[in-house]
């Protein structure tokens, strides 16, 4: 199966939150920032990714639009993982799937931790912290 590569300049947008998508990327060199926007439209950094890290795979898993924006933080070269290759990998290389499951679990925990941290400290405020962490720990674990 062909591997395709693509190069991004520093600050170049790789994909935008909300875009439809049919590929993921593995970083060959460089650095990528994953960003989200808050309700006011301010972009904030969720995580930084480096060599050999995979991103953009959630859209391949569930076929929904991009859940975040990816921007090259340096000049970056990526391998493109097309849907057909991804499907092949998940079908025939279970270790790939298991490592994906582990990485998504870590990411989910990190997101929950961020949610808990972001909770306003005022009493009687949003009950989201309890709800979310418990919901995920349970539904999720």
């Amino acid at each position: 199966m062909d591997n395709h590569f693509i190069t991004f300049n520093k600050d170049e947008i790789i994909f935008l939150e909300g875009q439809s998508s049919d590929c993921a990327y593995i970083i060959e060199s460089g650095k990528v920032g994953i960003y989200r926007e808050d309700s006011l439209g301010n972009r904030f950094l969720v995580r930084e990714l480096g060599n050999k890290e995979l991103f953009g795979e959630m859209s391949l898993i569930d076929k929904y639009p991009r859940s975040a924006t990816a921007i090259a933080l340096k000049n970056t070269r990526c391998m493109i993982v097309e849907r057909s290759r991804f499907d092949y990998m998940t079908k025939f290389h279970p270790h790939f799937t298991v490592s994906l499951i582990k990485s998504l679990t870590e990411r989910l925990r990190a997101t929950i931790a961020r949610l808990n941290k972001a909770e306003p400290s005022r009493k009687g405020g949003l009950a989201i912290k309890t709800t979310v962490s418990d919901y995920y720990d349970i539904k999720g674990g």
């Binding site: 998940t90 499951i101 998504l104 972001a118 709800t131 919901y135 720990d137």
Partner: protein, 119 residues
Amino acid sequence: METLCFESGEVVFEAGSSSDCAYLVEEGQFEVSTLCNGKKQVIGTLKEKDIFGEMGIIDNQPRSATVIALEKSKVSLITQECFHSMETTNPEALMPLLRVLSTRIRESFKLLNLQNPSA
């Protein structure tokens, strides 16, 4: 896969208990609840084909909410052994786990947005 049956009102697991397996709902309904300031707060309902507790087979963190059967219900048990054997015998069975994790990440992203933050 081993199955377990629960009567209405029966507890599947409680907050704080250790976790080493996940569940797939075969029949019935379950309620997910937590204690918020000493009061029970229902935070979700699970129905047929829903998976829950899946992170327990991955990183063994304790449960922090309680799941109770709302009616006579049946689940399949996904043990760690079962999870690991899927790796070799039925890798495609791992896909629902990937999907459920993906869904939860998207849901928590949404809440993160709601919550504000320029965190």
